[in-house]
């Protein structure tokens, strides 16, 4: 039982990431009708915003310590971060320690700007083109972006730890009557889940309870009529692209303490996020969120060794953890061709 609860918890944080990326993908598809294969790259750029903030806060000046030697036997060059010199060692170290949460402030304008530039500079030229053209150009853009990041940050994962206050794990087992240390879950993953829930709720509230959101929803349902009413729907959709980019970017920022970011992380999430969107139903925001969590939990269960062994030994399906999402997608699309919560008329002739 304890193992099953752990796998559900595991699925929640993985599902959070899928849901946030899929939410942004669906927003862009629902508003602009663009299949954005560069969305994973936006997640990655968000993560590298956190890396950049960490590096900026760790900028140091060098002093030579004659008493210590470097690897060549020369006097050691000691680096002291400017923030520690300016605010004192303790406050300076605390600022660096909180670089990931601080990166959120940095990432929001950056991601909005990246989204705006991407939409105005490239994607708007492909609104009336085939989906295949959109996929090709956005996929190409994703490769360019990841190669740029690799050039400047290297190919290796870069450690970006959570603040010390969030290190360690929460003992769920002790809370619900199990033995201590049987169901533990890292604090930062709980933070990530809560953060995702807030962002998702924020996006839904924005679309549901604001005039801007109402217009966007109307535009998603009938773009032409909204335009005929004298509303500049294109401008609102561009802003939605920026918001979708910011959602992906923030998901990336907060993900960095879970797995050290590398230039390829966007691609790792991209394909699965598209499956999430298709399973949830093209254009359906609640569908994207539901499918994100559902597939995250399923993937987590499929990695659980007793289940993995059962599939391998009894159903002759090795590596079920790698294919479960696709199997479920096939089953759902066969039984519900529009996905779990898909709308009629989306991606249909």
């Amino acid at each position: 039982m304890d193992a099953l609860i752990l796998q559900v918890l595991n699925g929640l944080d993985k599902g959070s990431a899928y849901a946030l990326i899929a939410l942004g993908l669906t927003l862009i598809f629902g508003t602009l009708g663009v299949v954005n294969f560069a969305h994973g790259a936006l997640f990655m750029i968000g993560a590298f915003c956190a890396v950049t903030v960490q590096r900026l806060l760790s900028l140091s000046f060098v002093t030579v310590d004659e008493t210590q030697k470097d690897f060549l036997g020369k006097p050691l060059k000691v680096e002291t971060p400017y923030v520690e010199a300016w605010f004192g060692p303790e406050v300076g170290a605390a600022i660096i320690d909180w670089s990931v949460p601080l990166a959120i402030i940095f990432a929001i304008p950056i991601m909005l700007a990246v989204g705006f530039i991407m939409e105005r500079g490239l994607i708007k030229h492909f609104y009336k083109r085939e989906h295949a053209d959109q996929i090709l150009v956005t996929f190409g853009l994703a490769i360019v972006l990841q190669e740029l990041v690799k050039h400047y940050y290297g190919a290796n994962p870069i450690p970006t730890p959570a603040p010390d206050a969030f290190k360690g794990s929460f003992d769920f087992g002790a809370l619900i009557g199990f033995d201590p240390n049987t169901i533990i879950y890292p604090y930062w993953r709980l933070v990530y889940f809560a953060f995702s829930a807030v962002i998702i709720a924020g996006v839904f509230s924005f679309l549901r309870f604001t005039t801007f959101g109402m217009v966007v929803r109307a535009g998603m349902a009938d773009r032409e009529t909204v335009g005929l009413l004298g509303i500049n729907i294109d401008r609102r959709f561009t802003i939605m692209f920026g918001i979708a980019a910011a959602v992906a970017g923030l998901a990336g920022v907060m993900y960095t303490p879970i797995n050290s970011p590398n230039y390829h992380m966007g691609m790792d999430f991209l394909v699965l996020s598209f499956v999430v969107v298709v399973v949830g139903g093209m254009g359906s925001l609640p569908g994207a969120v539901l499918a994100g969590f559902l597939l995250g939990i399923l993937e987590s269960f499929a990695s659980f060794s007793p289940i993995k062994n059962f599939f391998e030994n009894w159903l002759f399906l090795p590596s079920i953890d790698q294919i479960i999402i696709y199997l479920v997608a096939i089953v759902i699309l066969l039984t519900r061709p529009r996905g779990l919560m898909g709308r009629k008329g989306v991606m249909e002739e």
Partner: protein
Amino acid sequence: MSKLDVTRRSVLKTGSVAGAGLALPTIFTASSAAAYTNEPTGGTVTLGFNVPQTGPYADEGNDELLAQQLAVDHLNGVGDGGCLNTFTSKALKGNGILGKQVEFVTGDTQTKSDAARASAKSMIEKDGAIMINGGSSSGVAIAVQGLCQDAGVIFMAGLTHSNDTTGKDKKANGFRHFFNGYMSGAALAPVLEKEYGSDRRAYHLTADYTWGWTQQESIAAATEAIGWETVNNVLTPLASTDFSSYITPVLNSGADVLVLNHYGGNMVNSLTNAIQFGLLDKLVNGKDFKIVVPLYSELMAAGAGENIKGVFGSMNWNWQLQNAGTAAFVKSFGEKYGKPPSNSAQTCYAQTLLYADACERAGTFNPCGVGEALEDFEFDGLGNGPTWYRGADHQCFKDVLVVKGAENPTNAYDTLEIVEITPRAQVEYDPEHPMFAGGNLGKCNPGA
């Protein structure tokens, strides 16, 4: 008067034979004028450095490339000579190889077997490379080694740790300086017994490809020999980035040691996940929970950050070793590039010098002559202490390092500390050992 009888059938027959002949890769149909593939005829000789310049191991590959370029400098008499000054063989004089200036071309393996074979093939066919060196993955090394065997050039493997490279997939034209999974197990087990005792239960997470399988087999055998029990072994996809769902079952498995048979980004992520789930804070079976990473690299250690503190593993070489070869190499590399070299850089540097030295001693670039000169060659002065290139399987035997993550690092490069230098005799094995059985070196192939 003769009659020319042209039928549809005869045209097809002739055409298919001619087509098949033309389709044969040129590397397998070398000119009969040459004694061997890519025999150098001018004043230069070309080496091919095939390393991952893009993809997940690109940093590792770039470090290898820096070392290979340094080796070429030293062979051509540029710079301070590095290990040419400490190498026990004195055949190399800093005037190229056999009097020919050394040039090089590079290929990008992308850490993909097909891309690595394509780049190696291109360097051999188009650039005339006479030797291929490099690689940061056993899958790639085994694939390229097979290609070099067929093409008739020498393959001096870079970082490849699978037992299979010099086991079931060994080839007469392939040579490995790097250590392997068996040696990691043989070196690590006694240290683990001393540190953690003989009553332990180990849970393995293993990368699902040749290197992961053979390392897991080796480490499990070595730790079971000291009394440990292997509780479970779970294969994880190479493309995994989040290992949390593989880590959580460890919590309640009854295991008190987690062995991560992962490398590169996989290892960085799985170790980070394990630390996040508080494994190192757990008390199981009355003992502190421990994590072991059998194969370490400096670049991985930097990626894992403070998570590696106190975690044991093994290495082929480390820049902190105290011997003349290491000092010479670290000085050359450090002064040129401003950082200490990684162990993958060292193995590529050593392999390039060993190849050049073998050519000099053999007096030829012919792969069969070079291979003969390398077989059962004993040397010192390249950083690993006394080393033997065993003829039976083309595997180097030398001391192995047991290391652990530095508890109190003083600078960015001080990530690992050497715990023990395991003597060569302790990691040696019979060429017919079951973990290496099933292969056959075959005959040296000169190509032409």
